[in-house]
């Protein structure tokens, strides 16, 4: 079925403003915190985002530092301080920070906690700057 012009336009709009990631973030926040009044909570989240974008204050990330460390430790079962490239890619996919095409290169170096943290933060910033 050939996609019409408007459909392509809509898909491109979603990509440009990273709407999918935004909606995913909002839904996750809602289901995780389960506020009494979902609408008001959503409005407050969006307001914070808006202000953060305007003033350049740090974005309220869903996964903060301690979560990233915890995730790394879960994957690094033997406690060596490193994870394999495959695990690293899978983790990024789970977080929604890396598409299937895998624009990561396996440069033969092992992935340490710092590199993992740095990569996650970098990608998050990229996404949030589009809002």
């Amino acid at each position: 079925m050939e996609t019409s012009n408007r459909e392509l336009q809509a898909a491109e709009y979603l990509e440009r403003h990273r709407i999918k990631e935004l909606v995913s973030y909002l839904t996750s926040a809602l289901l995780f915190f389960r506020p009494e009044k979902p609408r008001e909570y959503l409005i407050s989240l969006l307001e914070r985002l808006r202000i953060a974008k305007v003033t350049g204050v740090a974005f309220p990330f869903f996964m903060d530092n301690s979560n990233i460390v915890a995730m790394f430790e879960m994957m690094d079962s033997s406690g060596r301080g490193t994870i394999s490239f495959v695990q690293y890619k899978e983790a990024l996919k789970t977080l929604g920070l890396c598409t299937e095409d895998g624009d990561l290169k396996d440069d033969g170096h092992i992935i340490t906690l710092d590199k993992f943290k740095e990569e996650v933060n970098k990608r998050m910033k990229e996404i949030w700057s589009a809002f």
Binding site: Q9, A10, Y13, L14, H17, I19, L22, V23, L26, T27, L30, L31, F32, R34, P38, R39, L42, I43, L46, E47, L49, R50, K53, F131
Partner: protein, 479 residues
């Protein structure tokens, strides 16, 4: 019904919260509006949309041939749902709009208004505060496919479309009796809908162009156009026969408009079947479990399994079984929790029957967090229950179960040696049924949104009723 495809272990509070607050529908609506309007700045747009909070207001289109009663139904619905009515007349007679003045000139000269102008009028009107807050009902628009498509490109989508239909002869005859009250604009009829007050009767006017010829011409045009408008609204359309009393048409329209359409929200069914012994709960549960791959949790069965497997709980339960006493609630709940907490129950959903027997057990269930999202009461009259249970027999030689009426044994020889389970004796059954009915009133009150199903039919009909109760969203109560 869709169980979540993710293999992650999602704590059950999340899907429960999602279902109760209709999170999926909320997000879907927001996304739809974003895609329709594609604002440059999505975040302020989303904030505005959430503030409006108008996901559930009525957005109705009523179509139908002349003399079908569209305007009457539309007006009644408006009053009932407290929404704004939009007809060609009141769009055109709007004094505050420049576009309306242009349209009015054409209308008063009895020329057809071009679709572009009409759709512009509609767009203006729908952007006003009262339509946004309280919903809108369009009466008789769109008339042609062109209008329907133009409205759609603007992003205006109704949620319910009602098409009234009646045979042409009925309509032509009905139109001859049409009368209008010039002050309120309400339509009356000489035979079907005569106003009781005599002052109204006196100043009713006969509208123009209701002669048979003119009605027939209008009908021709209507039929030509409607056939191409109907496919524009595939899943939200309902055809109601207008060849019945107004009140019936109105009630059908009202129930339809207040029902929600099936959503794509992920839904794990947690079904509770309640009913007296012999109402068919186990059978329905087995059918549901088989078709939708739910976990069939029968309370009595669970206890018997525990005793047979000699688990820790089983040892505690056994003395009660041996003395033929009812197992205490606390122990029962422990056995149930153990089963319902297992991963397959959480992920696939469950069908529970046999419990709760009374209000205390129900409260205990709730406090443990096992809230069913669909509750069904199977109603069977006492005589049917007696018939179903007291005629049950078992063949001691082959172990085959028979029923003297529904599944009689093949030969007289088998029938001679059939035995009856002492639990199926008349007095025992009567006792158990009475016990249920004593508690049923409380349970019905607790489970306010329960659906009552007539259990006195063949099993597959009952199954279909239960299925539709699970698949369709819960009906909204009329305020």
């Amino acid at each position: 019904m869709d169980s979540t495809t993710a293999p992650h272990r999602i704590p059950p509070e999340m899907p429960q919260y999602g279902e109760e607050n209709h999170i999926f529908e909320l997000m879907q609506n927001m996304l739809e509006q974003l895609l329709i309007h594609q604002p440059e700045d999505p975040i302020p747009f989303m904030i505005q949309h959430l503030h409006k909070d108008n996901d559930n207001v009525p957005r109705i289109v009523i179509l139908g041939p002349p003399a079908s009663g569209k305007t009457t139904i539309a007006m009644w619905l408006c009053k009932h749902l407290n929404s704004s009515l939009l007809t060609l007349e009141n769009l055109v007679l709007n004094e505050f709009s420049f576009t309306a003045t242009k349209a009015r000139r054409l209308y008063l000269q009895r020329k057809t208004i071009p679709s572009v102008l009409l759709v512009q009028l509609i767009q203006e009107r729908l952007a006003e505060e009262d339509c946004i807050k309280r919903g809108w009902i369009l009466d008789g628009i769109p008339e042609t496919r062109e209008q329907a498509l133009r409205i759609q490109t603007l992003g205006i989508t109704p949620r319910h479309v009602i098409v009234l239909s009646a045979p042409d002869t009925v309509l032509i005859e009905r139109n001859l009796g049409k009368r209008i009250d010039p002050q309120t604009g309400e339509i009356y009829h000489t035979t079907f809908d005569w106003p009781p007050e005599s002052e109204i009767q006196n100043h009713l006017m006969v509208p123009e162009d209701i002669s048979e010829l003119e009605t027939a011409q209008k009908l021709l045009e209507y039929h030509r156009n409607i056939i191409r408008v109907i496919p524009s609204y595939p899943k939200i359309l309902k055809v109601i026969s207008a060849d019945q009393p107004c009140v019936d048409v109105f009630y059908q329209a009202l129930t339809y408009v207040q029902s929600n359409h099936r959503t794509n929200a992920p839904f794990t069914p947690r079904v509770l079947l309640l009913g007296p012994v012999g109402s068919g709960k186990s059978l329905q549960a087995a059918l549901l479990a088989q078709k939708y791959r739910l976990v069939n949790v029968c309370c009595g069965q669970l206890l018997k399994e525990a005793v047979a497997d000699r688990t820790t709980f089983g040892e505690l339960v056994r003395p009660f079984f041996e003395k033929e006493m009812a197992v205490p609630d606390s122990l029962l709940m422990k056995v149930l929790s153990q089963r319902l907490n297992q991963q397959d129950c959480i992920q696939k959903g469950w069908v529970l029957h046999g419990v709760p027997r009374d209000l205390d057990q129900a409260h205990l269930l709730n406090s443990l967090g096992y809230n069913p999202n669909r509750v069904f009461f199977l109603n069977v009259p006492f005589d049917s229950i007696m018939e179903r249970l007291t005629l049950r027999r078992i063949d001691p030689v082959t172990g085959e179960r028979y029923h003297l009426m529904y599944k009689p044994p093949a030969t007289m020889e088998i029938q001679a040696r059939l035995l009856q389970n002492p639990k199926d004796a008349e007095e025992q059954v009567k006792l158990k049924v009475d016990l249920f009915y004593r508690n049923s009133a409380d349970l019905e009150q607790l489970y306010g949104s329960a659906i009552t199903v007539n259990g006195d039919q063949d099993p597959y009909t009952v199954f279909e009723y239960i299925e539709s109760g699970i698949i369709n969203p819960l009906p909204k109560k009329i305020p």
